[in-house]
Symmetry: C2
Subunit: 256 residues, 2 copies
DNA sequence: CGAGTGTTTGACTGTTCTCAAATGTCGTGG
DNA sequence: CCACGACATTTGAGAACAGTCAAACACTCG
């Protein structure tokens, strides 16, 4: 458990360094943030729309999501989050939550007190900028989702989401070089993220599989032919703003 | 023209003060930002995806939008912007634009140099926070659009967008107390924002009109019964994070 | 084994898209 | 003043897409 905490703080530092290296001092400041860790079960709420949290939730392990609900009771998932993400960072500046947060799998979360974060930002303006940048990447992802939901047919939209998930998991070391990873959520959650019905998700999924574009079995996800999938999905990772150094694989010329 | 510049800087200050009052010094810093103003015609690009702008565009008058385009050539509008908005503020921290920006009407823009803004943020951390907050409100609006696109039927989705537009225009003094305002864009642009076809937008519009929920004629928009429209649309302005104080205290509408 | 959850299938309905054409509006130039 | 083109709105009809409801099937865990 303590290891997880150290790990996710390291992942966080790594994300923040996307642009410029942090100083040892800054890095230590992050590592030294007091954090109470807590576990959640799949389906459990972390924070609800309308609340005014006094902590930010840094995910240590597992998947969580932001979501909103209509009056008719249908849920729209707004984003997926895993290790290293702080899905409610904006509550520092927008105290009243405009959406809810829940665990999609069993989850470990480290809670960072608002007042400590604020103190850190005051003392280290560069860190504040790094976190600001992080929230801007969030926004960029929303823009991409809007494009996909509004203008791509279901098949491409779903393919694009898979590309994004793999790319983001890869960026934090949760995917293999062959782009295998674990996508530990049921089809119904996928449906709520794509704005589709569960039935249609199921059929679209079969379609992707029969085209040999993906394989997804009991959570184990893999992409037989990344070039095929990403070009079919019109996936261009630029919008994730992962900087060059992230050597791994997502931009290899080897395909196309 | 110079008046417009002063006006939009004032609008900007007003927006930034949503939470805490700025000091006279801070306020003056904003007002003193050097800005080159420039005009655009409807349809003209302000900045394109992939570029690395060295200025941020503060809108002085008219409407602009963020958008992205699929390979098939269809456009998704991601947000609408008018006086007081800085739609590419994020280019300060994410240098490479992940979307494009264009004028939807004839437009006046004041360009604020990146280096000046950065200097301001360094000297005035509270201002940096105020701008950060502004970008977070953007993100909140994206979340709401995702919910609307994914989970509301066309009629409600459109009604919701109208509520949002009126609320935002009202917040900067561009709507009357009776919630009349000018929506100076064609139905095709609305279609690209809602992720619908123009034909369907037209039919949905007729539907809203025939229910007496809106009136929109040659750009002149009005809402006969706000309670009816906003409850039909499930519109709750909380996600706009306009703070309490600015409740429909308005300057007479004279604009665009 | 049985409950619970998640996935798959079928049949049907409804929404939204596309294509194509008609109508309306506005400004320009003859 | 009228004719014209450019643009925007409206209409119709058929096809494609995605939703609902309901049931069957599969897998996991106690």
């Amino acid at each position: 458990m303590e290891n997880r905490l150290v790990d996710c703080l390291r992942t966080l530092v790594c994300k923040l360094e996307a642009v410029t290296k942090l100083t040892a001092n800054e890095e230590q400041t992050i590592q030294g943030l007091p954090a109470m860790t807590r576990g959640f079960q799949a389906g459990q709420a972390i924070a609800l729309e309308g609340e005014r949290p006094e902590f930010c939730a840094l995910i240590a392990s597992g998947w969580a999501c932001r979501y909103k609900v209509t009056e008719a009771g249908s849920r729209q998932i707004l984003s997926f989050h895993f290790a290293g993400d702080i899905p409610d960072l904006q509550s520092l500046l927008l105290p009243k939550l405009d959406h809810s947060l829940m665990a999609l799998t069993s989850l470990e979360v480290a809670f960072l007190p608002h007042d400590r974060l604020n103190a850190v930002f005051e003392a280290h303006p560069r860190l504040a900028r790094a976190f600001w940048r992080d929230t801007l990447v969030d926004a960029s992802i929303y823009r991409q989702w809007l494009l996909c939901m509004g203008r791509l047919p279901a098949l491409q939209q779903m393919a694009h989401l898979f590309c994004e998930i793999v790319a983001r998991l890869d960026a934090v070391g949760l995917a293999t070089i062959q782009r295998e990873c674990i996508i530990p959520i049921p089809q119904t959650d996928l449906a709520d993220a794509l704005g589709m019905s569960a039935v249609h998700v199921n059929r679209t999924l079969q379609d992707l599989r029969s085209h040999g574009l993906i394989s997804w079995n009991r959570g184990n996800f893999s992409v037989p032919d990344w070039a095929a999938l990403s070009s079919f999905a019109e996936f261009d990772p630029a919008y994730l703003h992962l900087e060059p150094k992230r050597s791994s694989q997502l931009v290899p010329a080897s395909q196309t």
